[in-house]
Amino acid sequence: MKLWRDEFSIETAHERYVARRQFGKFLVLTSFGMFVGNVWILVKSWFRRDEVFPRTLVGRASEIPKGGVKLFTYPGPQHPCLLFHTQSDRFVAYSQKCTHLSCAVIPAADGKRIECPCHHGFFSIEDGRVLQGPPPRPLPRILLERQGDELWAFGVDQGGNPSVDSRVQG
């Protein structure tokens, strides 16, 4: 049987079969697309394991009063972050991109939470976990280290390692 007859059936009775066969082919191609997507995630995860973060001075403890916040970028200029001096006298920093749809999060009026104004998602200011709303994951935490008055960022925890404590005592 010639290939063109497979694809363009002339007889009506055959058309029904070919339509089902074509539908099956479409499903299998979509399945292949899903497989390629999983391979892409695997390749990306290999690069993420080897990711090296720079060590960057992000602020000074003395310039942020208790309950204050400072905007900075880390690890690159296209990644805005927020540095908080919490009411419990700790310094914490998070990515400013909401994990829902990447809106810029802001400190909530009560000073204890971080708010995403787009869809009213709320995160804990102490550890970045989701308190309310549609965000599916905690805010990525910027790992901080204090040297005297200086606060240095040295990495990003996406939330996969709960044992990491990125908070710095004030």
Binding site: Y17, R21, S31, M34, F35, G37, N161
Partner: protein
């Protein structure tokens, strides 16, 4: 008209195989979204099992597709042509 029962059986088998592929595809879609969600949350260790499972699902879908082609040809009598 004598091959009508064979055609009907072929169509039932085709419907069954296509339904199975569709179910596998839904599972694969869920697997992809779950793997992506875990990856974005920093759990990179799930990527390898995700690829293996997705590959198995794709292989199964492809196997069912090959059976569709075989059954389809047999039911429509193309092999005799």
């Amino acid at each position: 008209m004598s091959d009508q029962p064979q055609t009907a059986r072929g169509l039932t088998a085709l419907d069954g195989a296509i339904s199975l592929i569709a179910i596998l595809l839904v599972v694969q879609m869920w697997l992809l979204t779950a793997t992506l969600e875990a990856y974005l949350a920093g759990h990179v260790e799930v990527a390898t099992p995700g690829v293996v499972l997705s590959g198995l699902l794709f292989a199964a879908s492809f196997g069912f597709y090959r059976s569709i082609v075989t059954i389809d040809r047999a039911a429509s009598g193309e092999d005799e042509a």
